[in-house]
Amino acid sequence: MTQRAIDLIVTELQKMKVSAKAESDTRGYVEVPKDRIVEVAKKLKELGFDHVKAVTGIDFPEQEKIQLIYHVSSYSENLYNIIFEIKSFTSYKDCVMPSLITVWESSWTGERETHEMLGVYFEGHPDMRRLFLPEDFDGVYPLRKEFKIKLEGLFVDKSE
């Protein structure tokens, strides 16, 4: 059985002493502490991943942490079916991440959006301003779980 492309990447990453894992033929992830994320990202770029598809932030209010997932992929034909995730955590208290824009330019939009929606500051991003939200938006970061949206309830008029 020939070795899958994703296994090669995982073994390469495991040499760096980070926990990488292949979930299937086309999906895999690596978990890194945030101070090593740039290093891992550079390694992944060397391995052929040339763009960031998405920067996703997930709020975990019980642990007071925000998880960041970079979905990385490639346009080259041997890697283009793989989406690799770089997962990292940052805490509420120190909500700063090193920006990966020096490695992948295409993380520009995603990092800006994650900044305004979850309040993570990306250090090194050249344009860390609001993107979608109005300029006078005030209050809790919208994608944190403590931001509650008012949902319309079901109202049944029983008087008649």
């Binding site: 086309t26 999906r27 040339d50 763009h51 960031v52 598809k53 998405a54 996703t56 997930i58 997932i69 979905h71 346009y75 034909e77 283009y80 079916n81 989406i83 995730e85 992948w104 330019e105 295409s106 520009w108 939009t109 995603g110 929606m117 993107l131 979608f132 939200l133 109005p134 919208p142 994608l143 779980k145 931001f147 949206i149 949902l151």
Partner: protein
């Protein structure tokens, strides 16, 4: 003789109330007629899909996720459903896969006609605008006959599709294909070989291969820059692994190449549709697991009688197991990615929706640097950037 050149710089506030801005504001920093920099003030049609996604059941999200791009709703819908299917681990029957491809390709043609039409009106070519919308209408009618709605079809549901195809729809599609084939020749005459259109698109907004990769361009815009990438080939979904089609790739990377890619994709989509009509297998259109939940009387009346699925009770508020899934489809404008994270409750813990136009924001911003002011709209149109889709 010394000529003193007085630098003329200023900002131009294009939009949101402007015929050439769409639902956004483009702050153009001009130096004479040359654009120094643009700042895209997006977010005027932000619908908070990701936040609402955390407050809705999985099934209730299907109509929501297709709202951002109503003219491309089958893809928006399918990407989300594929992610959910991965979490709840459902196999989709063969016929449903073919029907998904069918709806998706019809929608792709409609979406591309829309894009070319908008590009035409941006360049002042009103005929292509009207033709684009007129020719799109034929395909929208097919979608209407198939799904019951012109746009926002909610056609794809977990485990299958909602309605079966009928012989009259197949007949409609055959007519539409022969009409569009004929019409594309006229399109080439009046639009693609029109000297004014060529002058406005050729060598305008050139994106090299390296730039396209670095900026993360997607879809026809990426392929116009010489990158062979299409999710339908990279990670075949629906029935695409069994269908034979080509991916048009151009090397020039300018606006003209981008619109030519769209034109050729329309032709390829029609090829795919012909194959689907020929090869579509018989069988159920919903997974067996859900089909057996439908009560027998309704099964007989609706599913067997009219080829329409009545939603089984499982859909009401199912709780998928814990897990996460990433799915991607090739939407009309490019690669669409969903990341769904489930924590075991009836609502997703996190829904991430990365639309093609979202990824074009950065491309658009970069391409506009250093061009002439009149080219901003030309680049805008040739990228087929659709603000509601980007804002989500």
């Amino acid at each position: 003789m010394d000529v003193e050149v007085v630098p003329v710089t200023g900002e131009l506030n294009v939009g949101p109330q402007h015929p050439g801005s769409g639902h956004m504001r483009i702050l153009v920093k001009l130096s004479g007629d040359i654009v120094d920099d643009v700042e895209l003030d997006v977010g005027y049609v932000h619908r908070a899909v990701e936040k609402l996604g955390e407050n809705r059941n999985y099934m209730h999200l299907i109509p929501l996720v297709e709202r951002p791009a109503i003219l491309d709703s089958v893809h928006m819908n399918m990407g989300y459903v594929m992610a959910v299917e991965k979490i709840i681990n459902v196999d989709v029957p063969e016929r449903a896969l073919y029907l998904r491809s069918f709806a998706a390709e019809v929608n792709r043609i409609a979406s591309h006609f829309y894009g070319i039409g908008i590009l035409g009106i941006f360049l002042g070519h009103s005929t292509s605008f009207m033709w684009g919308f007129g020719d799109r209408e034929i395909w929208v009618h097919i979608l209407e006959a198939l799904t019951g709605a012109r746009v926002t079809n909610s056609y794809v549901i977990p485990g299958g599709v909602r309605r079966d195809i009928s012989p009259s729809i197949i007949e409609m599609t055959k007519k539409a294909i022969s009409y569009t084939r004929r019409k594309l020749n006229d399109w080439k005459k009046i639009f693609f070989n029109n000297p004014t259109i060529r002058a406005r698109l050729e060598n305008v907004g050139v994106m090299t291969k390296d730039q396209a990769i670095a900026w993360g361009a997607v879809g026809p815009n990426l392929r116009a820059s010489g990158v062979y990438f299409d999710v339908r080939k990279a990670e075949p979904y629906a029935a695409y692994s069994k269908l034979d089609f080509d991916i048009p790739v151009y090397k020039e990377g300018d606006g003209y190449a981008r619109s030519m890619v769209r034109l050729e994709e329309i032709e390829q989509s029609m090829r795919i549709l012909e194959q689907i009509i020929k090869d579509i297998p018989q069988g159920p259109i919903l997974s067996e697991r859900f089909l057996k939940q439908i009560p027998p009387t309704r099964m007989k009346k609706w599913v067997e009688g009219q080829g329409r699925i009545v939603l089984p009770g499982y859909y009401a508020s199912f709780r998928p197991p814990k897990g996460e899934a990433t799915s991607r489809v090739e939407a009309g404008r490019g690669e669409l990615m969903y990341y769904v994270m489930s924590d075991g409750s009836a609502k997703p813990y996190r829904l991430r929706m990365i639309t093609p136009s979202y990824r074009l924001i950065y491309v658009f911003k970069n391409l506009c640097k250093g061009v002439r002011y009149a080219d901003v709209v030309s680049i805008y149109g040739s990228l087929d950037y659709f603000p509601p889709e980007a804002d989500r």
